[in-house]
Subunit: 460 residues, 2 copies
């Protein structure tokens, strides 16, 4: 195995994990060569090492983690995707988990603790130093998806009367005791209340004698431990932050959030919207067939119900269809286009709501715009579909019926696409969840009812 | 107006722009009170000021910008949404644009230049100092959506033999000439090739005598000017970066990208996927009715075509429907559920492709999983729909026909939902664009053909 180890560390541009490395890793697991495996992983960037582990067959991955035990660097553990990390924590011995909790920043340690079964968590917490234990337990006490959960309790806070020179000397003395990554220091009063922020760039370019109180700036963000992660991400995005302080209800500085965690939040909130709009409740690359079924069947069941509502409407007009079967041929066209127009509006509305573009008067403008553009597209496609229907069936009245019903459905679709998510938002619900089922049901009902109803009135 | 000015600057937690402020701003525009307007905007964070301006009616916004002219802080200009910024640049006088280009970081200046009409851009470039002009022209020469376009040319590069102490002294001497925001300094060789990175935190905690070459680390990212922004964002995300150096083809350090720009890229790539999946080609909060129609009509036209393919299939079975009109009542159920199942798989696949979870063997596993979970859901909903159809129409054979056709459509939907985006990706196309139209057409064809075809064989 010794010659293959020369293939690591990978060149920095090796974003793709090469097949040879994966094969070597599998071999090492089979030969139980812990030393080679540990050394190879340690030489890689933790994110790359995690990628490589995830590309192994799942059984091999578990075996590798079990083999490594305490030799698996905690940095790699935390870079694994949720399901892999949970699987790894399950097979790691207690002492390795305790070691990881010790080494990791508090936000990452909380993530690991959260993966543990209740009784194991109790047992492991008892093995920690009391001060670490108290800190981690406080971390777990914050609700999920809040700033309190996301923050790390490692940050640098200095009193306002310190000078730049003294601050830098202090940092040199602390050396590696400082957090590994930070972009700014916080200035606090004697009661630990946050009063200002000094970026490291400012600290660096200011002369030694300047006092922190002279160079500190107001914190742009205003994040408290109970703030929803979506709001935190919004502040990071709006104010272009790399990190931000977190305060408790009394205004005391209790933590720091860094932008890398926010990037993950933004990504997952976006994913949630996308999946919700297409009726999936969750997804993970490593989901089993059963997880996949569970994430989708409930929405299909709702859809089964709404589809039969549409059927019920069609069945009202059975007599009409019997006399003119062309209606059965054409009715899916009206429903499909109407549904598509509604979904388009819905997608735009959900995105605009997420980016807070539909606050206040903008919402009214958007409703008007959707109604008008639905009408314009309605006219265009009413004419198009009317012409095709006429060319196909040579019946002017049938062509007129489908054209009018198409226009009505498009206008209705325009309104539904924006009013459904806006109403859900006003009701305090997530505008992405369930809205597409609503919109499609509304447009289907309108399409079938207007088309078959008009046909009954005009053609029979 | 003087008393109202006391309402600004807003409290840091005033994420919502209050109505009173907007009314005061409108009044100020009407009374042409440039001084009050300029002072009020300057006291706010540029992002908040931009938000406030965007909430004015569009005409008032344009008037405000025209009034302010050179008094509009460039920081605010760059915080405006694309369409507003373009509108603002249009009404600003040349000297105000020149001033903005001077003051802004090069990446932001390039954005402004890009907004200008060709002849105006030429005229304005001539007003700039030759050195600035050359730099901005180079910025414009990079392709859109590449690292070259996104990077700023303001960064800090130091030689490897410098000590920490010398570096800090140098930074103090440069003072405000340094970039306003930076999180790391780059270490270069005499040929300007990047050889290492030192974070400001490391610089701060290391003793003065240490040489940069001793404390520098390998750059984790490997970004070149021609790299696609999506790849750049991926590296930021993977390696949890706050900033990264950009090299030219010869390995020389030419720029720096900061994470705030990457957050915008991640957000817009996500938005693009969401809109594409729901058949919208672009969206902006301030789009006019006409823009909205243009962004949606082409996809509706494609859908019109595919809907008539489905119609053509139904028309093959006109004779069957004439004899048993219950088929017309039930056929949309099969199509709706099959389409929904296909979209669910598609949403999960597009997300997984974007997050690079479907590389290599993972793709084969995903295809199998989608097929199997399609089959499982197919069995569940075949039974469900079969029972409902039987209770409604009291015909065992009809219930069996719809059940079998439902199962076939679900299996087909599972495969389509994953194979369509994977194939588009393999062909080098965006897996989110056009894929939902493909998937829905495939499932519609399968639904109508299997249901009506089986009915013809079994029921007549």
């Amino acid at each position: 195995m010794t010659d293959t180890s020369q293939t690591t560390p990978p060149a920095p541009d090796a974003a793709e994990i090469d097949a040879a490395l994966l094969a070597d890793m599998s071999d090492a697991v089979e030969e139980r060569d812990v030393r080679w495996l540990a050394r190879t992983l340690q030489r890689m960037h933790p994110a790359d090492a995690a990628d490589a582990l995830e590309q192994l067959p799942y059984d091999t991955f578990e075996e590798a983690v079990e083999l490594l035990g305490g030799e698996l660097p905690p940095d790699i553990l935390i870079e694994l995707r949720d399901s892999y990390r949970e699987g790894a924590v399950d097979v790691l011995p207690d002492h390795a988990v305790v070691n990881a909790l010790d080494e990791l920043d508090s936000d990452d340690a909380t993530t690991i603790l959260d993966d543990l079964e209740d009784d194991r968590r109790e047992r492991i917490l008892e093995d920690l130093a009391p001060i670490d234990r108290a800190q981690l337990e406080r971390g777990l006490s914050y609700d999920e998806e809040t700033a309190g959960r996301l923050m790390q309790t490692e940050f640098v806070a200095l009193p306002e009367f310190w000078t730049v020179g003294h601050s830098i000397d202090h940092a040199r003395k602390l050396g590696t005791e400082l957090p590994e990554v930070f972009y700014e220091v916080y200035v606090t009063d004697p009661a630990h209340r946050l009063i200002g922020v000094v970026s490291l760039a400012t600290l660096l370019r200011t002369h030694r004698e300047a006092q922190l109180s002279d160079i500190m700036e107001d914190p742009m963000s205003n994040i408290t431990t109970d703030m929803d992660q979506e709001e935190v991400a919004y502040q990071f995005q709006k104010y272009s932050l790399a990190s931000a302080p977190v305060k408790d209800a009394a205004g005391r500085l209790v933590g720091m959030i860094t932008v890398d965690d926010m990037v993950d939040v933004i990504q997952s909130e976006n994913t949630e919207d996308l999946l919700s709009l297409l009726n999936v409740s969750s997804a993970d690359g490593s989901d089993s067939v059963w997880d996949t079924v569970k994430a989708r069947a409930p929405w299909l069941a709702v859809n089964l119900f709404t589809a039969f509502i549409a059927s019920a409407i069609i069945s009202i007009f059975e007599g009409t269809i019997e006399q003119l079967v062309a209606l059965a041929v054409l009715m899916p066209v009206v429903a499909a286009l109407g549904g598509n127009a509604g979904s388009q509006g819905l997608a735009v509305a959900v995105r605009a709501i997420a980016e807070r573009e539909l606050d206040g008067p903008a919402a009214r403008r958007a409703v008007l715009r959707e109604f008008l553009s639905g009408t314009v597209n309605g006219v265009i496609f009413a004419i198009g579909v009317g012409i095709i229907a006429f060319l196909w069936f040579h019946q002017v009245k049938l062509a007129l019926v489908i054209a009018v019903s198409m226009l009505a459905t498009f206008m209705w679709a325009g309104l539904s696409g924006i009013l459904v998510p806006l109403s859900l938002k006003r009701l305090g619900a997530d505008p992405a969840v369930a809205s597409s089922v609503f919109v499609l049901t509304l447009t289907d009902v309108m399409a079938f009812f207007s088309f078959l109803g008009l046909a009954t009135l005009v053609l029979l």
